[in-house]
Symmetry: C2
Subunit: 191 residues, 2 copies
């Protein structure tokens, strides 16, 4: 692993937990076991280092969503794939959603860039697919929003749900895995 990758890994961990403003360059340097000057040597500024981390994190979401909206598989399969892939991905790095949401809130101008050019994502193809298949019975916007909400929110609010549902870390993890089938079941009912 190169020094650059090593820095990125430590920086990611800290940025995920403390955000841009709450993170200290010195802390990243310490965790990475290097001199603070090295951070600037490799990444110029704090913001540029943060951008690298953020873009990686955002891609996790964007890729899944883009796939659902564009790919040519049957609707049922799309939903099954989205739920399974998204929940599995978030189970690996549960800190991602809040990190991304946070940055988009603190720095809303970023959204314009994220959805520019080739990353332009729109729902129209998915919408047509839903309309054709359900003959207008199911609203595509709500189906899409529900699908994402049901998958992502339990990760976002994990500490609170864990408490309210009185689940240990391990129990909650299991619960989220079993939830995949529940979400798929509920969504497919509507088609």
């Amino acid at each position: 692993m190169t020094t650059e990758e090593h820095i990125l890994n430590e920086a990611r961990d800290i940025f995920y937990r403390k955000g841009l403003a709450g993170t200290r360059m010195q802390e990243i340097a310490d965790k990475a076991g290097i001199n603070k000057a090295m951070l600037h040597y490799y990444f110029k500024t704090k913001e540029l280092l943060f951008n690298r981390i953020f873009e990686q994190a955002f891609a996790v979401f964007a890729e899944r969503v883009a796939e659902v909206l564009k790919s040519d598989v049957p609707l049922e399969q799309k939903i099954v794939d989205y739920v399974n892939h998204t929940v599995d991905a978030l189970a690996e790095t549960p800190g991602i959603p809040v990190f991304v949401l946070n940055e988009l809130t603190f720095n809303p101008e970023r959204i314009t860039d994220l959805f520019a050019g080739k990353n332009k994502i729109d729902i129209s193809y998915f919408k047509d697919q839903v309309d054709n298949q359900t003959h207008g019975k199911t609203d595509a916007n709500n189906l899409f929003m529900d699908m994402v909400a049901l998958c992502v929110y339990p990760f976002v609010i994990a500490p609170v749900f864990k408490r309210m549902l009185q689940q240990s870390d391990q129990q909650y993890k299991t619960l989220l895995q079993e939830r995949k089938a529940h979400i798929i079941n509920e969504l497919l009912k509507r088609l």
Copy 2:
């Protein structure tokens, strides 16, 4: 309006948009049109001022949820009330969810305090109610999580959904209002 309330209002606006670490005491003072020393005169430290704002914000969620879990009305009515009240409350102050999620992520120890003593929230009564009424057909944990997720997440991710669904601010607002009926409809189907 007292100076204290005035400070709280300006501080809330800035904390919601920038978080604890990203907010400067000087900026709050400027927006409130007072001297920075006044902030410390009224609230002692930045953290104490932040706590006041946070506790207010968290109460918005906690109250709705506590009501659902404890109150003695029929299940159907509970769900209708929760969805309507929650969406209406968030429509007024859409910045709240990310603000709260953020702080809970950056400062997880806080959760212990929030659910201590009289604020202790547990789902067991709600669970019994669901079990009795559906004879085990519907899982109470998932019903509860779905209910919250479907209401709150569209506010949390608003800027992204707005882009992907190609909705103006006004259109998205309307969409969220109309969504209330959709959410209620989907949830009641399961009972």
